[in-house]
Assembly symmetry: C2
Homo-oligomer: 363 residues x 2
């Protein structure tokens, strides 16, 4: 497996050995700072957030209740799915920890990468923003914007273009089309936007991302150091693990609809995907009662761990039942379906109230 | 000589064989349409405008007094010089012919290409605009803008980026830094700006340029055809010859200050450059009286032809005196100095009045 390919934010490649990534790309191990993190969320507690770059400065701000920023975003090319949900938990939590919050609708990226015209992605963007608000983001304390309307971001992208060479872009992203490089530069602009004087100037900033987004972070940190006149604090990142495909594939992928579900999906479709999901079960019920299940290999367990059981004791209980062989996969899947459909039903009720607000914000 | 190198808008390469360029790059010969051009200016009359792409549509609009646009611009990296002056005559004349006029201050290009920060090029831009107004551009009937402030141009650049590949850019411009490619895309945005609905929608548009700018024109015509939703009329260009260096070098170049002068230059310095200029003179006065001078090889004659003798009869007279050996180079240079310093003195008086207006326009 080629490591460069692993860390491809636009790709569909395998993510499997996080320790190796830490070593190879110089990502710092989150475990070293975890003990100092006040009130860690479930993703941190469960080592789903496994790595970081430069996060100590942000952690220091959290501990000392000093100013820091958090920025995340979504490409409005489709509904919120299980992957975007991980980042959503993180940004909502960083906001609660006191971060000045920026949420970017990457509609220019959706255009450059997927060919979706800006005006066509608007309604998807409204839907995505309603999701993040329903998940707990306080829009009154957040700057939510579309790339296409945020000229400061585009201006930064154009300015920073003088700081990169084609060779740098090729080394980081591989040989890509020109529009994707532009879109990468615009993301650099997004990440540094919170540190402009308009938003109070340089300050520690964290970008919570899936580890596949590391190339953007590395490029942005390089550029932040290069453009000294801004006095940017090199932006930090937390890296979370990526969920495997529900169907047993290595990664959730839009190209493979059985590998994931979205928050907008029909309950029957979600039910079916979960019933078909790949688990850590044994060859027979008898064998499983004897040997126990294998939650570390189980996509249902991952659903609990990432999203749908936030209470650690409850998670431990089901883990124990699984490895003891006290619960079989069929039963466990039914529990999962109940929990998930219940979550989604409640979520959608909350979300309804935010649709108009979201549209107003993005206008 | 490598033809790709010739047509390099950022380069410092030789331009010598215009007929070959016409053949090799599919530039159309201007002579074919010249007879139909009403009231041709001195550049057209003298075949300094030697080629075009797609200009028949614009010519048709001129003849039938229909709508057309003209766009030109300047990179605010220094004062108006003899090269920019050629384009200036053209845009002023196209405006008089009835063209909706756009004048672009390419401050993003000055940044990407020369590293001049946008704020630092502002005063140069003011000076440049005062020059073009003093040369006769009617600012009340023109849209004069800075690239850095014209978000429609930047948005077009970002949109069109999806329509080009790195290979296209490499084929047209050679292997360049990323920022220069961005700057090329922004120029594409400039050239198509006049055809946006905000300015009345698709219409024939001419870009008068030195032939070294042909790569931009070709790229823009490709893109105009590709983005069908805009219904762009592929922009036309007129191509003018480039002046040789006054000092006998192949081309005027900022790297070689003896090769050109600017309109802001100290009269003593201009005088000196003209006195040192390379002419079509013979080895001795006696020989010259016998054989006559060689105006087609003479930079002083070029100064007359491009800029400083607009009356054809006066030009013919001095040509005749030269080839007859009736006038020697020293005398001719004195005439040139008088004409040029007189021109510049008058120009600067007019220009003074436009400085505040220019600053107001660019604010």
């Amino acid at each position: 497996m080629d490591d460069r390919k692993i860390l491809n934010p636009w790709g569909e490649d395998l993510i499997e050995d996080y320790k190796r990534l830490i070593k190879k790309f110089g990502i710092s191990d989150f475990k070293e700072i975890k003990p100092y993190y006040p009130n860690p969320n479930h993703l941190i507690r469960r080592d789903i957030v496994f790595g970081h770059r430069g996060f100590k400065l942000v952690l220091n701000s959290i501990i000392k209740k000093r100013k820091f920023n958090v920025l995340s975003g979504i490409k409005p090319s489709g509904p919120f799915h299980l992957g975007t949900l991980t980042t959503a938990w993180e940004i909502v939590d960083f906001q609660k920890q006191g971060g000045n919050t920026f949420y970017c609708i990457a509609d220019v990226e959706a255009y450059e990468d997927n060919g979706i015209p800006i005006k066509d992605s608007f309604e998807t963007a409204v839907d995505n923003v309603a999701d993040i608000l329903a998940l707990g983001l306080d829009y009154k304390k957040a700057y939510i914007y579309r790339q296409s309307s945020e000229y400061r971001v585009k201006d930064l992208a154009i300015e920073f273009s003088r700081g990169v060479t084609l060779n740098m872009l090729k080394a980081i992203y591989g040989l890509r089309e020109f529009g994707l490089y532009i879109s990468a530069m615009i993301q650099v602009g997004d990440i540094l936007l919170p540190q402009l004087e308009d938003f109070g100037g340089p300050a520690p900033t964290v970008i919570p991302v899936g580890v596949d987004q590391d190339p953007h972070i590395r490029l942005t940190r390089d550029i932040a150091k290069k453009f000294k006149k801004y006095n940017f604090v090199p932006p930090a990142a937390t890296y979370h693990k990526l969920m495997r495909g529900l169907d047993g594939s290595d990664k959730m992928s839009k190209r493979n609809p059985m590998s994931y579900f979205t928050l907008n999906e029909d309950p029957q479709s979600i039910r079916k995907k979960i019933m078909n999901a790949f688990t850590g079960g044994r060859n027979s019920a008898a064998e499983q009662r004897e040997l126990g299940g294998q939650p570390h290999r189980c996509n249902i367990y991952d659903l609990y761990k990432f999203h749908f059981i936030l209470d650690d004791n409850e998670l431990k209980k089901i883990y124990q039942e699984c490895i003891n062989g006290d619960i079989l996969c069929g039963e466990c899947k039914k529990i999962a379906i109940d929990k998930i459909l219940n979550f989604i039903e409640k979520h959608n009720k909350k979300k309804e109230k935010f649709i108009d607000i979201a549209r107003e914000i993005l206008k």
